[in-house]
Symmetry: C2
Subunit: 213 residues, 2 copies
DNA sequence: CTTCGTTATATCGATTCGATATACTAGGGA
DNA sequence: TCCCTAGTATATCGAATCGATATAACGAAG
């Protein structure tokens, strides 16, 4: 899930972890508010899998220092770092800038088109946010798969609403959930209609429509 | 999160794990469909914490058998079980029926009233579903806390929508998210109004003011 | 000069999920 | 009779994610 988001951003340009988080939060809002506790392990995972590679930023004067070895005393470690700083190491904290690889691009395409684990609202929202990378037919398929899932969800939640053992509060929760699903379905229907209108053209032309930024 | 749901159901009556899952799924729908991979660890956790206790169901003819020891051969283990069955052990698979303790009831009250980790939609929905166990003032406080959070979310997601680097698909996702939050707020407003109308009655006098002081 | 806010990477424990294994019963055909 | 499936029931495993926390550097404010 996170992998998709990371690779999607790296398709555009090279980024470091902090920047990835910011773009996800500022760009997609709540939907993609990801914590560092999942982001950094995810980046390490993707690097291990060969989907991304870490590149040293060029603006460093000195090569990356090895981590400070534990001395058993906090002040000891601080002393080491202070010595380094005073010794003329004026470089910034090393940023690890990540670049997507060919394998990563393949992985992104698979994640985006694949039917696996697209069943929660967040995964779907993320996929749709990157839907410009899909061929029109695959985009339509994504929307229709999601619609089928939501129809099923609506049936389930309506069945739950018929349970007469619910008190006012539980019932309100269930009914509000149903309304949310209905709104989702109407949204999907508008998107599907739009896709069909657009896709009426002759061929799949992946003409890019995103801003350059 | 799961702890709250489990304790809430056990407040009503004793239940075993499978039944807890069914009631959560059938009663609250999507909001509370929980997997066994979280349910059973949660029950073990609560038992360790002394919040619930496992009681043997009375309808067993024989005491619970110890687990079949590994013989190194599958057919060997099957043979043991077959022998048991043929020997007259007609009992069902042992169900572990859980009962809430006094400590569990206290824990439930704390989880329900506590402001901690109430920030996601699922936790809030769950709390509201059990809101009949709250004093009217605490119920109102829960709703108003949630409303503040949603207002903040709405600001965030609207800020995201102003990002002009978004293509049509990403923008649609963000706008739909905003609509969902708006709908949530309207729902909350209806609930809050209902609470105020109800709470005007002489019923519940909470003594210590849950609001302004 | 010290404190504060921001940028930046990283790890930890806890929770949750999905998949899987095991055990038992009941019913429906072949 | 014998097997196959479906339902009930408990349990564990690995992986993903979160929230909290630690560490580090730096510029601006005071």
């Amino acid at each position: 899930m996170l992998d998709l988001a990371i690779l999607g951003l790296l398709e555009e340009r090279d980024l470091h972890g902090y920047e990835i988080r910011r773009q996800l939060r500022d760009g997609l809002g709540l939907l993609a508010n990801v914590s560092f506790g999942s982001l950094y392990p995810a980046l390490a995972r993707l690097e291990r899998a060969g989907a991304v590679m870490a590149t040293e930023p060029v603006d460093r004067g000195a090569p990356t220092r090895s981590p400070v070895p534990p001395t058993g005393s906090l002040s000891g470690e601080r002393a080491v770092l202070r010595a380094r700083r005073l010794a003329g190491n004026r470089g910034r904290r090393s940023k690890k800038v990540y670049r997507i690889t060919d394998a990563g691009r393949r992985m992104f395409a698979d994640l985006l088109a694949g039917t696996g684990s697209a069943d929660d609202a967040r995964s779907f929202g993320l996929k749709l946010a990157f839907a410009r990378h899909l061929a029109p037919s695959a985009r339509l398929a994504l929307l229709e798969r999601r619609r089928v899932q939501l129809r099923q969800s609506l049936d389930d939640v309506r069945a739950a609403a018929h349970d007469d053992a619910l008190d006012v509060y539980a019932r309100s929760v269930v009914e509000h959930t149903a309304e949310g699903v209905e709104q989702d379905i109407r949204w999907l229907d508008r998107l599907i209609e739009g896709e069909r209108a657009n896709g009426a053209g002759p061929e799949d032309r992946p003409r890019e429509g995103a801003g350059t930024r």
